[in-house]
Symmetry: C2
Subunit: 138 residues, 2 copies
């Protein structure tokens, strides 16, 4: 039986922490202190690829991606922003928005498969989420 | 002096072949026969990140990305579509649209930095471009 309501993929749920609920997407923080790394997950049942969204949803995702990228820019002043919808491992449609620095452990390569994730310590996680939520409210 | 007209980055020009001119973007074929791989380059002088586009340009880029992804889907029936704006090496804003297969040489990892590019043989390049341009016209 196919779920008729949106459910976050179990692996995405395990690897990320909730940050905000946008009009279309769940905004989550990747639990990897190597990079400021956000994940957007559109609440669209069964969506795997960007082409599974209708044009209105796509434009909304573009707007929410822009908002997330500006959030990382404002919070961290990165050298570059990486935005990607890959999903080869976790098929549920999700968009990575990652702040990149010339000193980060994967630069200039993409982050995937380079170094092991470095989960946030509890205090650092609380601080990071507070910072980002504060900017979102601001 | 900053160029006041759009010029394609020299590395992008060297690594890709022209396919089509969309309203916002140049559509180009990556010269790597390992994967059906398109590159969209918005003709916006000085743009490095998605957040450098205005909302109308962003939505247009979303539409042209969708069109490019559907083109790859129709031509190759891939298992997954990967879409990414990275630009850590080539800073000019460009979007990768890549058809992925469970049998391709990088699966399930992202394609970057996995295997050496495999440039098309001249006949294969002509055939590939003709196929894609035919579908775009159709």
């Amino acid at each position: 039986m196919k779920a008729m309501h949106f459910e976050l993929d179990a692996r995405l749920a395990a690897d990320t922490h909730p940050l905000a609920r946008f009009a279309l997407c769940e905004l989550r923080l990747m639990d990897d202190a190597n990079y400021p790394w956000l994940i957007l997950v559109p609440r669209v049942v069964g969506a795997r690829d960007l082409i599974d969204l209708d044009p209105q949803q796509r434009h909304q995702l573009s707007d929410e991606t822009d908002r997330s990228a500006r959030l990382l820019r404002d919070a961290f002043r990165p050298h570059k922003l990486n935005v990607a919808a890959l999903g080869n491992v976790v098929p549920q449609l999700h968009v990575h928005v990652i702040a990149r620095f010339e000193e980060d452990p994967a630069w200039p390569a993409p982050v995937w498969g380079r170094v092991e994730a470095d989960p946030y310590a509890p205090e650092a996680l609380i601080e990071r989420i507070a910072l980002l939520q504060g900017l979102l409210r601001g």
